[in-house]
Amino acid sequence: MFLIDLGNYGLWAAFVLALYSVIVSIWGGVQKRNDLIVAGRNAAVGVFALVSLASVALIILLMNRDYRVEYVASIVNNTLNGFYRFSAFWGGQEGSLLLWLLLLCIFSFAVIMQNKRRNSEIIPYATATLMITAAFFLTILNFVTPPFDTLASPPLDGKGLNPLLQDWGMVIHPPNLFLGYVGFAVPFAFCIGALASGKLDAGWIAATRRWTLFAWFFNGMGILLGGAWAYRELGWGGYWAWDPVENASLMPFLMGTAFLHSVMIQERRGMLKVWNVSLIIMTYILTMFGTFITRSGIISSVHAFADSSFGWVFLAYIIVALFISFGLVIWRLPLLKSEHEIESFFSREASFLLNNVVLVGMTFAVFWGTMFPVISEAVQGIKVTVGPPFFNQVNVPIALLLILLAGIGPLLAWRRASMLHIRKNFVYPTSVAVVSLVVLFVLGVRHVYAVLAVSLCIFMIATIVLEYYRGISARRRNQGEGLFAAVWELTMRNKRRFGGYIIHFGFAVLFIGVAASSAYQMVGEVRLGVGESFAMNKFRLRYEGMRQDKNENYESAFARLGVYKTGVRLGQIEAEKRMYFTPPQPTTEAGIRYGAGEDVYAVFADVDRDGSATFKFLVNPLISWVWLGGYITILGTIICFLPERWGRRRKVQPAGVGA
């Protein structure tokens, strides 16, 4: 009973405290009164403590299978193991909202601790902004879908976790995405704080640079893990389907990417201030919009939650947030004047700005495609579905332009690059790209987009290699360093620049994987008797028999398949079909033979009385490059994250600290 009370009343008190924190923080900020500011800060810490306790209470209830609680009874059952009982915390509607809130409170607490003596003018408003968001989630958790509601007569067994969610990818994908979504609330809060207090220099950007990178990284990783899960678990052989909820996670990522780039210009040159505040406001709004789409059920999606009747609460919040945020921007327009102007079209600023416009355009295209069914239904009364063809048609050319710009940007200097040097710098990467274009064509790759995408990615990689080469030569020439020392020092002394290049490199690899696997996927459906085989291009799959297995949670049938490439046996894969007991639901676990060149992918669809089975086979070229690109991106992000001084040779002794 204690845990349930703690959850219920704790969330109630947290709601009151969050509102109190909003009021006294803003009041303190306006009046510049320390006592009020400290009170607002303490209240936010109090919210953090209460929400943490409520979350721990829910986790304990889930672990103990306490079916008195409706949420627990609806999401775990007697046979679910501890790992999945823990992950059931975010497996359902109420719990995932609580996780969102918990992360928000943890971040707010971290922000408060980081800034006890810093940014004192911005912080009261930033605290208020974070607590408004918290109060919004607490409204839902207290009034709409309380996670600690109890059942009059507790059942003996729960309903169990959706079998599709019983996969490690699904265990880490939602928290990852949430870390990203919620993380963007921090730079947004600082932006609102800067607007409200009028401290609109680059201070708020510098203070939240790492937070932005953090949010961006986890948003991206969440998307990638979601893709990896879909590939393994859903059995249609792909990783991205332009599903509304996938789009909802992509939109803040695109917007956040634009923000991440354009803040660099403001930090260096004091430009694009209106643009930057608008970008982070839109990123935050899009994270809320993503949640709205998932929870409202206005768009049918594989991700939609069953019971979700409170979409309008989100919509109302989004509209109010939009009005207040942009109201502040308009009010502060005089302070948001640019300190410089773009001097030349051939400058890194200009190329960044262009890349920004392209990213925002892409976001809009995704938004339009996602919302079109709703708009069409509202206007014409006809429900239209917008499928992958639309998204591919629109986004592939935009993405190609983006890759091109990502290749060009690094070659240009800040402010202005001279034409002579542009020509000199572009000779090698362009030649490499043209050669690769010809080679691809000769090899028989005729898919226009695939050829273009791969050549442009190679162009991008070539520019990065050239940058490294030039930087290394300069260091070796001027500092007399060896090759490895030069690589290390160059990266460590310019972490943002070269970390960024590594991230770009990761994306180039990822895009090559995307281009190849979407243009050259081979699919075949076939019925095979034991011992029979099916050939696809160089590959041959031989059905070698079936075995069955059973545990307390599900029973499964495995089809054993031998994989041959040009006659050589590579090994055996098992395509699995599972039948869960509670809830009774079949799932597919694809049998995958991973390879650097191609993945061989088998889905076990059906089995007949005579022992013959129906399969769907796919050969996915270069799909592993998608994941490899992701890993490279992780490495680059870590470099960007490292402290400024880390990893440098100490050359100079720091000055003594006196007085």
Partner: protein
């Protein structure tokens, strides 16, 4: 019985959180509000210095970036000379503003992290409070301190270059300043506001001036 106990336990936890949030409001009654405002004033001065430190960091980074772009063959000689000159002038200007805020030798330690930087700024602001109005001594002293403050961010070579640049530039700017407004500008050591020569107290924050 169990239910009552549970409710009492929850009530204690909730009361603790609420108490913690209300506490600061009861802390400041009577004369202590003044202390709070005094503190926040000092804090503002230290933040101003922290901001200048951050600007200086950025200026140095810009210089290094231009040099890197130049070394890597992205800038023509004229563009390089133009940009590096302008950026160095920016850096010098920031250093001068730091001087006028009373940042003295040894006050600003090496920039290790933003945390330490803001602490250094706080210390700088603190000491300008305790030794009120201690005038800026010498020309290259504080400048050198400011430069060595970011010893780990920039190369020695670069520091020397900026110092050289400063020495050439300084008399000219000094002359400019004198011709523009006599008597020369003074700044409040606490809040950094410009003050009139005849004033004994800062008009912006009330700090005693000498």
């Amino acid at each position: 019985m169990e239910e009552t106990l549970s409710l009492i336990a929850v009530a204690i936890i909730v009361a603790a959180a609420i108490g913690f949030s209300l506490w600061p409001l009861f802390q400041t009654s009577g004369d202590s509000t003044e202390v709070a405002s005094f503190d926040s004033q000092k804090e503002r001065a230290s933040e101003e210095i922290a901001r200048l430190f951050a600007e200086r960091e950025q200026a140095y980074k810009n210089i290094l970036e231009i040099e890197l772009d130049h070394e890597m063959g992205k800038l023509s000689e004229e563009d390089y000379a133009d940009m590096i000159g302008q950026t160095r002038a920016d850096a010098v200007e920031i250093l001068r503003r730091l001087e006028s805020r009373g940042v003295k030798e040894g006050m600003a330690p090496a920039h290790v992290s933003v945390d330490e930087m803001s602490e250094a700024a706080a210390r700088a602001a603190d000491s300008t409070h305790t030794h009120e109005g201690s005038s800026v001594d010498g020309d290259s002293g504080p400048l050198r301190a400011g430069l060595s403050a970011s010893a780990n961010v920039i190369d020695e070579r670069l520091e020397e270059e900026i110092l050289q640049y400063r020495k050439v530039e300084a008399p000219m700017v000094q002359a400019d300043r004198e011709s523009e407004n006599t008597p020369p500008k003074r700044f409040c050591p606490a809040c950094g506001a410009e003050t009139d020569a005849g004033h004994n107290f800062c008009a912006a924050c009330g700090e005693k001036l000498n």
